[in-house]
């Protein structure tokens, strides 16, 4: 008996009678016999609630979770602290949404989304912002497509210091559209301005730069943006909301489109499952760029297309996170900053690591391991309950045995000490 079904045998009989059939199977008489299932597909017999919980707990238990381990891995997904209230509000919202409320007309939920947009406008300095997509890579693809259509051009220039995941997704799409994708080098850890500008020809629709970039380095966004604008090319900035509490905002350097991942605002790691991506646009293109945002029309909030539950929950979580943090969100960023520098200094003071780039960074930095393969170091870290950094050679082979380490506000001095000690031990 399926426990999600509330029709009784009697009710089923009555409905069959009304429909003039003897059993529900007759409702499938339109389906030709040759395509009907002859044998059941192979599924284990339905598990009870307790048993499925055991199965899932067992699977979950075989993963090392950042809630037990100490995480120094970043590369696009960060282990930030999520206050209990945020989790609680998120849970409450989740329960509410599970009540199947039509959110597109639910005033209190639209209010939360509207408030989130206001927060993001303040953080990014952009003219209008919405929770455009599930995932930054998709938001980038959309922005690039917009630029190409708007400029009627087919070339996209992207910095190689943009997260490789995003670039790969962009590459798949450019291949499908028959668009040209050029990658400007980042030999010293930041985008090579000369090379990037050299690539910007009359066919170029947009330039995409990330800040902080994949190596955690703060790019010269103002300089790049101005130079790109001189060539009448759109500038797309991939940004991190936390870093914007400290660094120049895309609104301040006049980016045309700014987008980023909402995961750092109260989101969990969740194996990289999408939370939401925000997209902000400048005043100049705001009439042309389709943003599905909540608008206030004569005091009534409206949303064109309802968000799916997952994205809506992530937005509510982000909104709760920012609401709870207030201006203190700057302190989170500052703590990340100081923790990262502390770790960087400690690591590079050992003989086992040396600095690669001498550039300002935020929350994340790259070092080169001189004695051991970073994959081996990562393996050893697991034994000490730590998730080590990202092995850069998978994506940037020229960097050799380099390690990308992220240090969030969650990391304590003791944890860093232990991390540095174990990472630099030569055995």
């Amino acid at each position: 008996m399926n426990i999600s079904i509330s029709n009784t045998t009697e009710q089923i009989r009555e409905m069959c009678l009304a429909l003039g059939i003897s059993s529900p199977e007759e409702l499938f008489s339109d389906i030709p016999e040759n395509v009907k299932l002859k044998e059941p597909f192979t599924l284990p017999e339905a598990l009870s609630e307790y048993d499925v919980k055991k199965v899932m707990q067992n699977l979950a238990g075989r993963n090392i979770s950042a809630s037990d381990a100490v995480c120094f891995m970043g590369a696009g997904v960060y282990d930030h602290f999520v206050p209990a209230l945020v989790t609680k509000i998120s849970q409450h919202a989740s329960n509410l949404l599970n009540g199947a409320i039509d959110i597109a007309s639910h005033g209190s939920i639209l209010q939360i989304v509207y408030d989130y947009q206001e927060y993001m406008k303040k953080l990014t300095g952009m003219h209008s912002v919405s929770a455009s997509d599930h995932d930054v890579s998709v938001a980038i693809v959309k922005a690039a497509k917009f630029a190409c259509d708007d400029k009627a051009k087919k070339k996209i220039v992207v910095s190689r210091a943009v997260n490789p995941e995003y670039r790969k997704v962009l590459k798949t799409h450019c291949a499908a559209w028959n668009h040209e994708l050029c990658e400007a080098d980042c030999a010293d850890g930041s985008t090579s301005v000369e090379e990037l500008l050299e690539m910007c020809d009359e066919n170029t629709a947009c330039v995409i730069v990330q800040c902080p970039n994949f190596f955690g380095i703060i790019e010269q966004m103002k300089l790049l943006c101005d130079a790109v604008h001189e060539r009448e090319i759109l500038f797309i900035a991939v940004v991190d909301p936390l870093s914007l509490t400290i660094y120049k905002t895309p609104g301040e350097y006049n980016a045309d489109i700014a987008l980023g991942d909402g995961q750092t605002l109260g989101g969990t790691l969740s194996y990289g499952a999408p939370h939401f991506a925000f997209t902000g646009v400048s005043k100049e293109i705001s009439d042309k760029y389709y943003l599905n945002s909540v608008i206030n029309k004569n005091g009534v909030l409206m949303l064109k297309k309802p968000f799916d539950q997952q994205r809506l929950l992530s937005v509510i979580t982000a909104s709760a996170y920012i609401a709870l943090m207030g201006n203190g969100i700057t302190d989170v960023a500052k703590t990340c900053y100081s923790n990262a520098y502390y770790t960087y200094e400690k690591l590079t003071a050992t003989t086992a690591f040396k600095a690669i780039f001498n550039k300002p960074f935020f929350r994340e930095f790259a070092v080169k391991a001189t004695k051991k393969n970073v994959n081996d170091i990562n393996n050893r870290m697991l034994d000490y309950g730590m998730i080590g950094g990202f092995a850069l050679k998978n994506e940037y082979s020229e960097l050799g045995n380099a390690w990308l380490v992220a240090v969030t506000e969650k990391r304590s001095a003791d944890e860093v000490e232990l991390f540095v000690k174990e990472a630099s031990r030569s055995i």
Partner: protein, 392 residues
């Protein structure tokens, strides 16, 4: 005055499942008569959905449970499914952590992928697409890669009249020419020529009908060297009854929230699965989960024919946790029962509203509105809805 739990129908349903212990030697039959209770216990016995509804209606402050949504495609999400998706060992894992540290997650993806392949008669599924648009993109990119490899020049996509906007938009982005056709053997026959690369059709259709000539259409298309894709937007009405893979489809996509009750809101989920037959598995987006000789799961990126990545990381992992939990708690018989009760509910509702006799699967269009009663609704809910329909 709120409704008491005792005012609910008392009908011998139940909302729990017992742990499967495998111990069955001892029954209460052997308890001495003198020790047994005399009056038969008589408590309201409700299914999980009704219990949830009851407490929700009592507990809700200003946010009234909006049951009317359940007549338009919203299904009841079981609490346990929501719960297991929030386990620390799932929410706290980093996408780049070493495979050894994520064997549970990898096994979950591997298992869920295999199970749905079997359920829908496909050979392999990609879990990466977050939206229908991306799923369409994936299928078209695969078709394009396949075309390039076989050095053919075909450039026309044949779509059914009820095709989604996203199919048309994606095809345009690829530079394909779109041709619209009815899904009958004759109409397809007259639309097919040597330029047609791909055929996309909805089965069941937008108005809940099964495309009865599907086998004939598929073999006609195959004979002309055309790839046949299923936009399985309404496939949940078929699970346990028939499989797209057996109807001649080479590729299919479906929304996880539509197929499985893993989300309660309207609108799409963040996960649209794309399934393909053997001929096309090499083109699926990277990475795919594989198992090595030492029975360790790993992300396989070494797939030279792959179309690349369509989304960062591995898709909506949370949706896959819920999907696996739903599949495991439902089982084959459960899926069949859901399909049957859905069909019964929708046809009964259609009879009451439109008085029209033909059968549909899962949904119908009436009064310019799509009706899609949830399998959790019962006859009295539908009676009440129909009685009040059109009244303010």
């Amino acid at each position: 005055m709120k409704k008491s739990i005792f005012e609910n129908k008392i009908c011998g349903k139940h909302g729990y499942t017992l742990p499967q212990t495998a111990i069955d030697e001892y029954t209460t039959d052997s308890v001495s008569e003198s020790l047994l209770r005399e009056n038969k216990l008589d408590l309201p016995s409700l299914d999980e959905y009704s219990v949830s509804l009851h407490f929700r209606s009592l507990l809700a402050d200003n946010d009234e449970y909006n049951k009317s949504e359940c007549f338009h495609g919203v299904r009841y999400l079981r609490s346990v499914i929501d719960d297991v998706s929030k386990l620390d060992g799932f929410t706290g894992i980093h996408p780049y952590q070493l495979g050894d540290a994520g064997q549970g997650a990898l096994e979950l993806l591997f298992t869920a992928g295999h199970m749905i392949s079997d359920m829908f008669g496909m050979d392999m599924f990609s879990l990466q697409s977050a939206t229908k648009m991306q799923a369409m993109f994936t299928m078209l990119a695969i078709a394009k890669a396949h075309r390039q490899e076989n050095d053919v020049k075909k450039n026309v996509i044949l779509v059914s009249t009820d095709a989604c906007k996203c199919a048309l938009k994606t095809a345009a982005e690829f530079g394909f020419e779109v041709r619209v056709t009815d899904m009958t053997v004759d109409a397809v026959k007259s639309s097919l020529d040597e330029n047609v690369l791909l055929l996309i059709l909805k089965n069941p259709t937008r108005d809940g009908k099964f495309v009865t000539e599907i086998s004939e259409i598929a073999s006609l298309a195959h004979d002309a060297g055309v790839i046949v894709c299923c936009d399985a937007s309404h496939v949940s009405s078929l699970i346990g009854i028939a499989r797209p893979g057996d109807m001649g489809f080479d590729m299919m996509c479906f929304d996880m929230a539509e197929a499985f009750a893993i989300s309660n809101s309207r609108g799409e989920s963040a996960c649209v699965a794309v399934g393909v037959k053997n001929e096309f598995t090499d083109y699926l987006p990277v990475p795919v989960v594989d198992i090595d000789e030492e029975e360790q799961y790993f992300f396989n990126y070494d797939r030279p024919k792959s179309i690349g990545k369509v989304n960062a990381f591995y898709g909506d992992f949370t949706a896959w946790i819920k999907a696996l939990a739903f599949i495991l708690t439902t089982g084959f018989d459960g899926f069949k029962e859901i399909a049957e009760v859905s069909a019964l509910n929708v046809n009964y509702m259609k009879l009451l509203l439109s008085k029209e006799k033909s059968f549909v699967l899962k949904r119908f269009i009436f009064d310019n509105t799509a009706f899609e009663p949830s399998f959790s609704l019962d006859k009295s809910d539908i009676d009440e809805f129909a009685a009040n329909y059109g009244k303010k």
